[in-house]
């Protein structure tokens, strides 16, 4: 009995303790270690012992054009992909938000892109984009349009990658918004209908504002994930042609595991980490406000 009450009162820290230790060891410690490395001149290639160089790496990397371009490109990729996904995703959710034959099948199909292995998705789109045998140029040709260079052109590569992200992740927004719509009460829309509002007015003035908190959360979740996009870019272009599709994640990977310039790589990782952290803080703030 005594033993029982002992475990009962301490359970609130015994139960989560293993998970906390694990996260501390494999997440918190590595992040601190990365921050430390960013203050040293460590390279794995030179073999010399790392020495403390203060903010030198930051001074170097933060003004490097290649880094700044990657930072800007990450923003452009993220914002344009998520903007398109938000518009298409909400539109698809409004379209599917009614009873019709085959609805459950359509919902199942929408799930498939979300669980498809991103590397393999990238490879399939590479085949689409192939300049000589790809379906993408075949479609353009059938429409009487000139062929595009897609991922092999510096001017078109980012757009081509955005298309892949949009294909894979728009259904995420659709499914979240559909779940949000299902939780809404019908009454305001019914009342407006009785008052003679058109369907379009109901959607624009009642449904969308009511489901807005859900849309915002879905969009922020997507923003955080899009910032970190790695697999499809790495598999499809490796950051190329040249550096034309290099994002922060890509450039961080290359500095770490291709050039082994650990000190400089760590700076990039710290920046990426801070960008994502800022977005995550944003999400909790917004969640609190909409919940209140």
């Amino acid at each position: 009995m005594n033993q029982n009450s002992y475990t009962d009162s301490s359970i609130r820290w015994i139960y989560p303790l293993p998970a906390i230790l694990f996260v501390a060891l494999l997440m918190v410690f590595p992040v601190l270690y990365t921050t430390y490395i960013s203050l040293t001149n460590w390279t794995l290639t030179s073999g010399a012992a790392p020495s403390f160089v203060g903010l030198n790496n930051y001074a170097q990397v933060l003004v490097e054009p290649r880094f700044l371009q990657a930072l800007w490109r990450t923003m452009v990729f993220t914002v344009s992909a998520v903007a398109v996904e938000a518009v298409l995703g909400v539109a698809a959710a409004l379209l599917l938000n009614r009873a019709f034959v085959g609805r459950s099948v359509v919902k199942l199909l929408l799930l498939l892109p979300l669980v498809a292995t991103p590397v393999a998705v990238g490879i399939v789109f590479n085949l689409f984009y192939d300049p000589t045998i790809g379906l993408a140029n075949y479609v353009l040709e059938s429409l009487g349009l000139p062929p595009s260079s897609w991922i092999s052109g510096a001017g078109t590569v980012l757009f081509s990658l955005v298309v892949v992200d949009v294909w894979q992740w728009t259904p995420m927004i659709t499914l979240i918004v559909l779940a949000g719509l299902a939780a809404l009460s019908d009454e305001p829309a019914e009342a407006a209908r009785i008052d003679g509002a058109s369907e379009w007015q109901i959607i624009r003035l009642i449904t969308i504002p009511m489901v807005m908190p859900v849309i915002v959360t879905a969009v922020i979740l997507r923003l955080i994930d899009a910032l970190k996009t790695f697999d499809i870019i790495f598999a499809m272009t490796g950051g190329g042609p040249g550096y034309a599709s290099e994002t922060l994640n890509l450039i961080g990977y290359k500095y770490s595991f291709e050039y082994f310039r650990m000190g400089q790589a760590a700076v990039i990782l710290v920046v990426l980490f801070l960008v994502v952290l800022a977005c995550s803080v944003g999400i909790t703030r917004l969640n609190k406000r909409t919940a209140a």
Binding site: L111, Y138, S256
Partner: protein
């Protein structure tokens, strides 16, 4: 008449949506059944005589069975460890409203994996753990654990607390309540968490790309390596892509209801 017209427009739009979603999967499947000659044909061929030659190549010449086993072993143990660590943590978070704790574990889901990966690479190299299941499983637990905690803490909150209170009046300990009353009631939540955690571990590319080499190579890396040959063998790559996607797609179809609730729960609950 107007209603009929609207119906046609509606089903047309749904059909377009479905076609866009399905096209890459169908093209992948078709291409995996084509000979190299049919794949490079222009205009692209939609009708051709199918061959399983590409699958034969993938499994006979490329040793995909071993990569398949590697992926399965890593995902299996990563999910297992995540359930062991995550279920009690999620229960505690749900019962004692430990929001801050939930947030810390959730951070692992939000943070870019590469910011832990470089230190892991250095430490695992020093410990001689590169290219071992231990390193891979540990890294994949960091993928699976937040999913388990996130889904299960929400699930535990839906179990009425009266159930526990009446058991406590009968003299049951917390451990007894958790193991014998709560967990047996949590089947649907555990299925959701397990399925999603398994799929995300299965699909992970970055961690395995850095931490595994020949011995523990997982499927996503094997599929990617197919691309590095001078002449891309598109039929082989597509057969490999079908092979890697099939388990996740089949799991999703079987557990559709659970996967949907798992993917959408956080956002809707707010």
């Amino acid at each position: 008449m107007r209603k009929l017209g609207l119906g046609i427009v509606f089903y047309g739009a749904v059909a377009l949506l479905v076609a866009i979603v399905l096209l890459p999967f169908l093209w992948m499947l078709l291409s995996s059944l084509k000979t190299q000659v049919d794949i490079v044909a222009w205009p692209p061929k939609f009708v051709f005589s199918p061959t399983v030659q590409n699958y034969y190549k993938v499994f006979e010449e490329q040793d995909f069975i071993r990569y398949f086993i590697n992926s399965t072993v890593v995902a299996f143990f990563a999910v297992g460890v995540s359930l062991l660590l995550g279920l009690p943590a999620a229960y505690s978070i749900a019962r004692f409203s430990q929001r801050r704790l939930a947030l810390v574990i959730l951070l692992a889901r939000l943070m870019p994996g590469i910011s832990f990966l470089m230190p892991w690479y250095i430490i695992f190299s020093r410990l001689g753990l590169m290219d071992t299941y231990v390193a891979l499983v540990l890294s994949h637990v960091l993928i699976a654990l937040p999913i388990v905690v996130w889904i299960m803490s929400s699930y535990f909150e839906t179990i009425p607390i009266e159930l526990e209170e009446s058991a406590m009046v009968d003299g049951a300990s917390r451990n007894y309540i958790f193991l014998k009353i709560i967990l047996p009631l949590s089947g649907p939540g555990i299925i959701t968490a397990t399925t999603l955690a398994f799929i995300f571990s299965w699909n992970n590319f970055l961690f395995s790309q850095v931490l595994s080499m020949e011995k523990t190579r997982t499927l996503p890396i094997a599929v990617f390596n197919f691309l590095s040959y001078a002449d891309i063998d598109w039929g082989g790559v597509m057969a490999a892509s079908v092979t890697i996607m099939a388990p996740a797609l089949i799991l999703t179809m079987v557990f559709q209801r659970y996967v949907v609730s798992g993917l959408t729960m956080g956002a809707v609950k707010g």
